[in-house]
C-alpha cells in the first residue's frame, strides 16, 4: 500500500500512466471475480458496463453540459438500471447459456454505439473531457489507486458479510441454497448489479482519463483480458484479481517491444498456470510458502540430529 503511494515519485510519467491503466483493470477484474468467481455467473459483458458508464458520463458532460459529478452519477445509474434488467433475464440461466446471453448483450451495446454515430461518434470515438485539466497522469494515478482501494474494501465487506455466505452457497448449489431459505433471486440480481455498477463508475472515470473513448472498450478481447487477469491472479481470492491485473499489465509493458509475441507469451503463461496452479498466482504463493516451511522444518530437524 505504502509502495503504491510513493511509487509515482520514483518512476516516469509513462509508467505512472501504465499503472493507472492497470488499476482500472484491477477494479474490473475484482468486480468480475465477485460475479464470475464467487457467485459462479460467468458473465461476458463486464467490460460492456464500463463502456456504458464511460459513454453515459461523457455524453452527459459533452451533450448536456452538466458537471463531471453528474456525468459519473448518470454513468452509474444507467449501468445499474441495465444490469438490473439483464440480471432478471439471466436469473434462470447458468454456465454457457449465461455466457452466451451476456455476450450477445455486449455485442448489441457495442454495435449500437457504432451505428448511432451521429450521437456517439461511432468508430471515430467520442472526446471525453479530462477530469483534471491536464493530461499529466499523476492525479489520475491517485484517483484510480483510491478507487481500487475502495473497490477492494467494498468487495471484502460484501464477501465477509452474510451476503458472502449466500453468494458462495448459490454458486455451490442453487437448489440447496433456496431450500436453506436463501432468497436466490434477490442475491443473484445483487451479484449482477454491484460489480456492474462498479464497472460503470470505473468506466466513467476511465473515459475522463483517457480522453477519447470508442466501442473498442467493449470488444471481446477486453473481456477476455479481464478474465485472464482473474485466472492468473487467482479466482475466488480477494487479492488475486488485483495481483493478476497489475502484474500482467506490467509484464505486457515490459514486453512491449516484442509486439504480438506478447500475446503468445501471455497465452503460454495462462496454459502453464491452468495446468499446474489452477488457483493462479495466489495458489502459487501459498504453495511456495509451504515449500519454504517444509525446507525450514527439514533443516531444523537436520540440525537437531547433528546435535
Amino acid at each position: 500500500m505504502s509502495i503504491s503511494l510513493l511509487l509515482p515519485h520514483f518512476i516516469t510519467d509513462y509508467w505512472i500512466y501504465v499503472f493507472t491503466v492497470a488499476f482500472y483493470y484491477a477494479i474490473m477484474a475484482a468486480g468480475w471475480n465477485l460475479l464470475g468467481g464467487y457467485t459462479g455467473q460467468f458473465s461476458l459483458c463486464h467490460s460492456t458496463f464500463a463502456l456504458i458508464g464511460a459513454y453515459a458520463s461523457a455524453l452527459t458532460v459533452v451533450k448536456l453540459g452538466l458537471p463531471f459529478w453528474m456525468g459519473i452519477l448518470s454513468g452509474t445509474i444507467v449501468t445499474l438500471v441495465l444490469s438490473l434488467g439483464l440480471g432478471i433475464i439471466c436469473l434462470r440461466v447458468r454456465g454457457i447459456y449465461l455466457a452466451l446471453i451476456t455476450w450477445a448483450f455486449a455485442e448489441v451495446v457495442r454495435t449500437f454505439i457504432r451505428v448511432a454515430y451521429e450521437f456517439t461518434g461511432g468508430d471515430r470515438g467520442l472526446n471525453s473531457p479530462y477530469l483534471f485539466k491536464s493530461v499529466k497522469p499523476l492525479p489520475y494515478y491517485y484517483l484510480f489507486l483510491s478507487l481500487t482501494v475502495l473497490a477492494i474494501i467494498l468487495i471484502a465487506l460484501v464477501m465477509r458479510s452474510r451476503i458472502g455466505f449466500y453468494l458462495r452457497a448459490i454458486r455451490n448449489d442453487e437448489v440447496a441454497a433456496r431450500a436453506m431459505g436463501v432468497n436466490t433471486v434477490r442475491w443473484k440480481i445483487f451479484a449482477f448489479m454491484l460489480p456492474s455498477g462498479l464497472a460503470g463508475i470505473t468506466g466513467a472515470f476511465y473515459g475522463h482519463y483517457i480522453g477519447l473513448i470508442s466501442p473498442v472498450l467493449g470488444e471481446f478481447n477486453e473481456m477476455a483480458m479481464i478474465i485472464i487477469f482473474v485466472v492468473i491472479g487467482g479466482m475466488r481470492t480477494q487479492a488475486g484479481p488485483i495481483v493478476g491485473a497489475i502484474s500482467v499489465r506490467y509484464l505486457m509493458e515490459l514486453l512491449r517491444e516484442w509486439a504480438e509475441i506478447r500475446i503468445v507469451i501471455l497465452s503460454a503463461i495462462v496454459i502453464l498456470i491452468m495446468r499446474f496452479f489452477n488457483g493462479g498466482l495466489m495458489e502459487f504463493l501459498k504453495r511456495a510458502k509451504g515449500w519454504v516451511r517444509k525446507r525450514e522444518a527439514v533443516s531444523a530437524y537436520a540440525s537437531m540430529r547433528e546435535k
Binding site: F165, Y166, A177, G181, V182
Partner: protein, 244 residues
C-alpha cells in the same frame, strides 16, 4: 382446526404432471403436529416429487398445499423454508467448497440469526453429530455418510423449523451414522416438537420410528396406518409384489 391435534401439513387433491406423465395423482394427506410420519412406496411412486411439491421446488398442477393453516402451494422454496419447512435431499446437497461450519451457517443467517448466535448453535450441533473435528474442512472432503449427516443437522440450524421433510435419510449410510440420525430425529421431535415426514425404503427403521405410515403407489396414497396395518393391506402387498 378439527380434532384435538393441530394439522401442520395438509395436501388437498394435489396433482403434478410432467408433460403427459402424471407423477402425483390427486394426493390428499394430513400430517399432525409432533408426528413422525413415514412415507413409503416403490421406486417411481412419486415420493420425491411429492417432497418437491411441498417444499416449492415444483409447482402443483392442481390442488392446494397448506402449512400451519396457510396456503403454501405457489410460494417460492426460500419463502416456504422461511415459514418453517426445510428438507434434505436423497443425494446429499452440501455446499462443497464451503467448510462444514460455513455450511451450517447458511440456513441460520438466511433466517436472520446473528453470526455469533449461529456459530454457537452450529458448534453444539456439530458436537452432537460428531463432526466437530471436521468443522473447518471443506464439505467436499467429507465421505458420503458424513455429507448426509451434515445436510441433516444443517436444517436444525433454522430455529423456526416446524416441519422437517427428509428424503431417504438412511440410504447408503453406515450403521453408526444412522444411529446419530435416529437420535437427532427423536431428540428434536421430543424436545422441540418438530414434525417429521420421512421418505425411506428401510422398512424396519420406519416401522420402529414412525407410528403412522403412508404408502404412495403410482402417484396416489393407497394406504395409511401403523406399519402392521399397512403390511396386511392387500393393496400394499399388491403394489410391492406387483399385483398380477
Amino acid at each position: 382446526m378439527e380434532g384435538q391435534e393441530k394439522q401442520v401439513l395438509r395436501l388437498e387433491n394435489v396433482v403434478r404432471d410432467f408433460g403427459g406423465l402424471r407423477a402425483v395423482n390427486h394426493v390428499s394427506l394430513q400430517v399432525e403436529e409432533g408426528e413422525i410420519r413415514g412415507l413409503i412406496g416403490p421406486n417411481g411412486s412419486g415420493k420425491t416429487t411429492l417432497i418437491n411439491l411441498i417444499t416449492g421446488i415444483y409447482k402443483v398442477t392442481e390442488g392446494d398445499i397448506y402449512f400451519d393453516g396457510k396456503r403454501i402451494s405457489g410460494l417460492q422454496p426460500d419463502v416456504i423454508a422461511s415459514l418453517g419447512i426445510m428438507r434434505t435431499f436423497q443425494v446429499p446437497r452440501v455446499f462443497r467448497d464451503m467448510t462444514v461450519l460455513e455450511n451450517m451457517m447458511v440456513p441460520a443467517l438466511s433466517q436472520g440469526q446473528t453470526r455469533q448466535e449461529a456459530k454457537t448453535r452450529a458448534e453444539e450441533l456439530l458436537e452432537f453429530a460428531l463432526l466437530t473435528r471436521l468443522k473447518n474442512e471443506p464439505a467436499k472432503s467429507l465421505s458420503g455418510g458424513q455429507n448426509m449427516l451434515l445436510q441433516i443437522v444443517r436444517v436444525f440450524m433454522n430455529k423456526k423449523l416446524m416441519l422437517y421433510v427428509m428424503d431417504e435419510p438412511f440410504a447408503g449410510v453406515h450403521e453408526s451414522i444412522k444411529g446419530i440420525i435416529l437420535k437427532a430425529i427423536k431428540a428434536m421431535n421430543q424436545e422441540k416438537g418438530i414434525t417429521f415426514l420421512i421418505v425411506s425404503h428401510e422398512m424396519t427403521t420406519i416401522s420402529n420410528l414412525c407410528p403412522k405410515v403412508s404408502v404412495l403407489y403410482r402417484g396416489g396414497v393407497i394406504s395409511q396406518g401403523t406399519m402392521e396395518e399397512i403390511a396386511n393391506d392387500p393393496l400394499v402387498i399388491d403394489a410391492y409384489l406387483g399385483g398380477q
